[in-house]
């Protein structure tokens, strides 16, 4: 086939996808902010997204905090700057690693689950059935998941921050020989409101991305079990990439102080 035609096709397909996503986002957001809102469904999703992610997010944060302390100690000792361990662990966790790692872990769990659930509802005509029962699928399925994820992710990340810093503290005091009181004092003295806030703000955006990718790919899935499988993979991959990309953009534009 003609080389130019192939390029044209690829570009057109990309624009179609972006356009479709934009329409989807617009619809989804509109239904998030106009009544009726379903508090029961939001709560149910918060439990599924947040509470059930606690173990995986907690473990990730704990080990990351620990390994961060070890690495910074090794690096710092080359410049006789070992005393910086506690403050840099706290900064690294609250500003970057807490939100990004929690976001990625939750993307793996939750985007996939949402895409699989909504995708199955699509291919078994349950979404059509919703419509015939005079219920808007955006209101009933998409909006509760988006709202729940945007609320839940910052809470999860706050917990991850705490556990991560604790992981650093345990490694610092038990194996690197820091004094417990000094370690805590250095952590608290150096960390600023802005560090924690920027991480939590980013995580709310990650929450939106996670739920959005799950819903979008699930909603548009077609072609039986295989289609649902494809939707699930696409949801996780696109959510992860968007999290990393948006993280860079937000950090460089908004939170660069």
């Amino acid at each position: 086939m003609n080389f130019l035609a192939v390029i044209g096709q690829v570009v057109l397909a990309a624009f179609t996808d972006v356009g479709r996503l934009a329409v989807f986002v617009q619809n989804a957001v509109r239904h998030c902010i106009t009544p009726p809102i379903y508090p029961r469904l939001i709560l149910q999703q918060m439990i599924r997204i947040g509470y059930n992610s606690l173990p995986v997010v907690g473990l990730t944060a704990f080990f990351t905090g620990g390994v961060l302390a070890l690495q910074i100690y090794i690096g710092g000792s080359r410049f006789n700057a070992e005393s910086l361990v506690s403050s840099i662990v706290a900064l690294g966790i609250t500003r970057e690693l807490g939100p990004v790692l929690a976001g990625l872990m939750v993307a793996g769990r939750v985007s996939a689950a949402i895409a699989a659930e909504i995708g199955t509802m699509r291919v078994t005509e349950q979404i059509d059935a919703l419509v015939t029962l005079a219920t808007n699928p955006f209101k009933y399925l998409v909006a509760p998941r988006l709202i729940a994820a945007v609320i839940t992710l910052p809470i999860l990340v706050a917990i991850a921050d705490t556990i991560g810093i604790m992981g650093g503290y345990i490694v610092g005091t038990k194996s690197l020989g820091f004094n417990s009181g000094v370690y805590i004092k250095n952590t608290v003295d150096f960390i600023e409101y802005q560090d924690v806030f920027s991480g939590l703000a980013k995580s709310a955006v990650f929450g939106f991305i996670i739920a959005l990718m799950g819903c979008y790919h699930g909603y548009n899935s077609q072609g039986g079990a295989q289609g649902v499988g494809r939707a699930t993979t696409n949801a996780v991959v696109s959510a992860s990439i968007l999290i990393l990309a948006s993280n860079y953009i937000m950090t460089s534009l908004l939170f660069n102080t």
Partner: protein, 258 residues
């Protein structure tokens, strides 16, 4: 049966990409009439129903319900029209995250904003009407057999007392006895609620039992229609071939061409 037209399809076209599925469907259905649409697999029967329900938008042509043009309606206007309709899906399409009774009560709670306790009573009532015991109401749809799922789907379709009920292959995949039970239920429900019924099937026994009138769809067009009694002497060789289930005749299955 009155002569009042409830549903009117006029020259409805629908294609998916290069593949045209409906090629100008014309069909009129009277109020309180029960029409059965027959036709082979993949001839566009489900697509036609979905166009009437507004789940798919036809490319051209007009669909009127009770005199109102519905093709192209969206949002709240569409919801108002949908509130007068019920649908039994080909695969039942029960919500598997909800209990059976919540499925049946769904249209009442979400669509009509009825309170849960009252909707629950009605749901159990409807379940009883389709011959399911109360304890089934507390199960999840995945715990039911195919026949039971169809019955729950039926109960859900009639729960809001719709003016029009659509049945997409209500008996497919069931044993002949259960199929007949469902047929009886449909006839009974339609009579009891005074609704207009549009059913799709390739099961001729079912068609004869449910239908006031039968229409045959072939290659996206209605090629014959008449009363249930007329179908044996339709004088149409496509219809003859279909009702006798012969492989030879004017209808060539795609499989033979390939």
């Amino acid at each position: 049966m009155s002569t009042d037209k409830h549903i009117v399809l006029n020259d409805v076209h629908k294609s998916f990409g290069p593949k045209s599925v409906l090629n100008g469907v014309n069909l009129e259905i009277g109020r309180r009439e029960s029409v059965v649409v027959i036709g082979g697999s993949g001839t566009g029967k489900s697509v036609m129903l979905k166009c009437i329900l507004g789940l798919l938008h036809p490319d051209s042509g007009s669909i009127k319900i009770g005199g109102t043009e519905v093709s192209g309606l969206r949002g709240r206007k569409l919801d108002e029209v949908l509130a007068t309709m019920g649908m039994l899906f080909q695969g039942a399409a029960l919500f598997d995250s909800l209990k059976v009774w919540e499925n049946v009560a769904f249209g009442l709670i979400q669509g009509k904003k009825m309170d849960r306790a009252k909707a629950r009573d009605i749901a159990f009532d409807k379940l009883a009407q389709v011959g399911l015991k109360a304890d089934v109401g507390e199960l999840s749809p995945a715990e039911l057999s195919g026949g039971m799922q169809k019955r729950v789907g039926l109960a859900r379709a009639i729960a809001t007392d719709p003016e029009i009920i659509f049945f997409d292959e209500p008996t497919t995949g069931l044993d002949p006895i259960m199929g007949d039970v469902i047929n009886d239920l449909i006839v009974h429900c339609v009579k009891a609620t005074g609704a207009t019924a549009v059913s799709i099937t390739h099961d001729m026994a079912s068609a004869r039992k449910i239908a006031d009138r039968i229409a045959m769809i072939y290659r996206g067009e209605i090629i014959w229609q008449g009363t249930a009694a007329e179908i044996d002497n339709s004088g149409n060789e496509y219809v003859d071939q279909f009702i006798h289930g012969r492989a030879d005749g004017p209808i060539q299955m795609d499989i033979l061409k390939a």
